[in-house]
């Protein structure tokens, strides 16, 4: 199991929480990205007619993941899109963590896409990124 996520039932009753995990920082980012994309819409029902290159750098992996997930919410509103997938690269250059991503999706279309929750933002409540051995974990609560 390289990466996976699960929605959490017992916290944030009014909102949505998930836990993501992966065998590397990259796998963790892919798991968390999958979780957020699934929260917004069923990615398999979203075409790939919109694309955006995104780069971020941060001292901590937690900060980088927070910025990236917040970016997804931003582009959802600013471009009026939902997402199919994202190609990710996450590296540590000895000083900072860097993310390079290609985010793909399509304008919101209620007739063809299975839409879910209009996430308003990623929150710092219970937010954490941890490493146990080689495996990375993140707990995220999003406001809907």
């Amino acid at each position: 199991m390289a990466h996976s996520f699960r929605f959490l039932e017992d916290i944030a009753v009014a909102d949505i929480a998930f836990e993501a995990e992966g065998d590397s920082a990259l796998e963790l980012f892919q798991a968390a990205t999958d979780a957020l994309l699934e929260t917004l819409a069923d990615p398999s029902t979203v075409a790939m007619t919109w694309e955006r290159d995104i780069e971020h750098a941060a001292m901590g992996l937690d900060e980088l993941l927070f910025e990236w997930l917040s970016d997804l919410v931003y582009w959802k509103d600013a471009a009026g899109v939902v997402f199919h997938d994202a190609d990710l690269s996450v590296v540590h250059d000895g000083i900072r963590w860097k993310l390079m991503a290609v985010l793909r999706g399509a304008p919101v279309d209620q007739t063809t896409q299975t839409l879910r929750n209009d996430v308003k933002g990623v929150t710092k409540h219970l937010y954490e990124v941890t490493q146990q051995g080689v495996r990375w974990y993140a707990k995220v609560v999003v406001d809907v």
Binding site: F7, L8, E9, D10, I11, A12, V13, A14, D15, I16, L40, A41, S70, V73, Y74, K76, D77, A78, G80, V81, V82, P107, V108, Q110, T114, L115, R116, N117, D118, K120, G121, T123, K124, H125, D143, V144
Partner: protein, 483 residues
């Protein structure tokens, strides 16, 4: 009585409970919770922790409060009220909520259930078409940056100037739909980009547009109801619940980051990162207040544009004008906001987060036609169980910084609700019970099932018995639009 806390909770009355300052290190004031014993027992641990965390914030006046619909929130509990001295106290986005000026609006009509029932399907289809809801929905109003900045500074007034409503609507909104002191230069480009296309949209989650009926036997105070335009007799009304959408959320997120850094500079320590705050009179505090007011005005404008669309939909379906249908605005209330108000302690910044202003008769700021009744308070329940119209009281002004409940409050997580029922099944069940639901997302619909919420009637009875609001009428849903 077993509670979800180890802290000592003292009974003040059957509806008021107090946690003394000795129960947590750093508390500067006691915490008070408005609840019946049953509601108090059902409250989650987060309420007790969070309301006492709020009681530790600098400059807090009298008590940190939580209303009976309270539950865990970000920083402050939902249902939280706290007032801070404007000179020595703080301002906190966590005390306002991410959805700045999320609020409720009620529109009356002269129509009855008998008039509407035969056309309900067509009406709901028309409303669903005219009021976009759900993920990424864009409104019909196209704005450039200059126009959006006028929305930020003028709020609902901008809508009236543009023909989206009637001038008299303004008198029936908190602050006449326009809070002064909104400065667009304090708002980020990111926030503008998120909000500029969202005017006139509902969003998703617990936001909705609902067509409701007022039965005569559910009008509790006929004289007050009549003064608010509510007559019972199966009268049809329309309720709207939404806020400042992505724009307000971005404003809150932007300033949480600013405040995290500012707190170190001002030597403020909080027990929860989501309580990040700054002195109200600091440059950071004033900038957030100004940006928050931009978002609050945008929310007033959002609900006003939606009102315009509702009127257009009714006029189209019933073949006559909205004026002829008597579609007057009863009132518009904010339940996520911070406002400067004057109380016995002097000038205070009152944070209401999932709590409604509830000014009593004769209070400043009320329009002439509500001077005798007190301010209308609109409380939304779950889409299955109905909502309430109440009025504010002098006792609220004396006891709770003029504040009361805002809704029913969730008791079950979204994930649990989705496991318990499917959206399509819920939609069919509600149709059988005479409630027509149009939803963008079936999973989102399941998350909003009535069993995921407290019984709003229990919550309303609590504030009524506590005397901080007086119930006027119960509103029963017959049609609902969800994102």
């Amino acid at each position: 009585m077993t509670l979800n806390t180890d802290m000592r909770v003292n009974r003040i009355t059957d509806e008021v409970w107090e946690i003394p300052v000795t129960e947590k290190a750093g508390m500067l004031a006691p915490a008070r919770i408005y609840a019946t014993p049953g509601i108090l027992q059902a409250m989650d641990r987060g309420v007790f922790e969070q309301v006492t965390n709020v009681a530790c914030l600098p400059g807090i006046a009298r008590y940190a409060l939580c209303m009976p619909d309270g539950h865990w929130g970000y920083g402050f509990p939902i249902g939280g009220v706290a007032a801070f001295d404007t000179t020595s106290g703080i301002i906190s986005p966590g005390g306002v909520g991410y959805d700045v000026n999320c609020g409720m609006r009620l529109i009356r009509t002269d129509l009855t259930l008998e008039d509407v029932q035969p056309k309900l399907e067509r009406l709901m289809t028309e409303l669903f078409r005219r009021v976009p809801a759900g993920v990424g929905a864009a409104g019909f109003v196209r704005l450039d940056r200059d126009a959006f900045e006028r929305v930020m500074t003028h709020g609902a007034r901008w809508c009236i100037e543009e023909g989206y409503g009637w001038h008299r609507d303004l008198a029936h909104m908190e602050d006449r739909g326009c809070i002064v002191g909104a400065d667009p230069s304090t708002v980020s480009d990111h926030a503008v980009a998120r909000g500029i296309n969202q005017l006139g949209t509902l969003g998703s989650g617990n936001h909705y547009l609902e067509v409701q009926v007022v039965s005569s036997n559910r009008v509790f105070d006929l004289e007050t109801a009549s003064a608010l335009g509510i007559i019972g007799q199966d009268q049809v009304v329309v309720m709207v619940h939404c806020g400042s959408r992505g724009f307000g959320h971005q404003v809150a997120s932007d300033y949480l980051k600013v405040f995290e850094k500012a707190m170190r500079r001002y030597g403020i320590f909080v027990k929860d990162q989501q309580l990040a705050c700054a002195p109200f009179r600091s440059p950071e505090g004033q900038e957030y207040f100004s940006a928050m007011n931009c978002a609050a005005n945008t929310a007033f404008a959002n609900r006003q544009v939606i009102t315009h669309q509702i009127r257009e939909a009714f006029a189209s379906v019933f073949g006559t004008s909205a004026e002829e249908l008597g579609m007057e605005l009863v009132y518009d209330v904010a339940h996520n906001i911070a406002k400067v108000e004057r109380y016995a302690e002097g000038e205070l910044l009152v944070h209401r987060k999932g709590s409604t202003r509830a000014f009593g008769p004769g209070s400043p700021g009320l329009p002439w036609d509500f001077q005798k009744t007190g301010q209308p308070v609109i409380c939304g329940g779950s889409m299955e169980t109905g909502s309430y119209l109440l009025v504010g009281t002098d006792r609220a002004v004396d006891e709770t910084f003029g504040s009361t409940m805002h809704g029913s409050g969730r008791t079950m997580s979204r994930a649990q609700a989705k496991k318990a029922i499917r959206g399509e099944q819920l939609q069919q069940e509600m149709k059988r019970r005479g409630i027509l639901v149009k939803a963008v997302s079936m999973s989102g619909l399941a998350e909003e099932a009535g069993f995921a919420y407290k019984n709003i009637s229990d919550v309303v009875e609590t504030v009524d018995r506590a005397g901080i609001t007086k119930k006027v009428a119960e509103l029963r849903p017959i049609g609902n639009i969800k994102g």
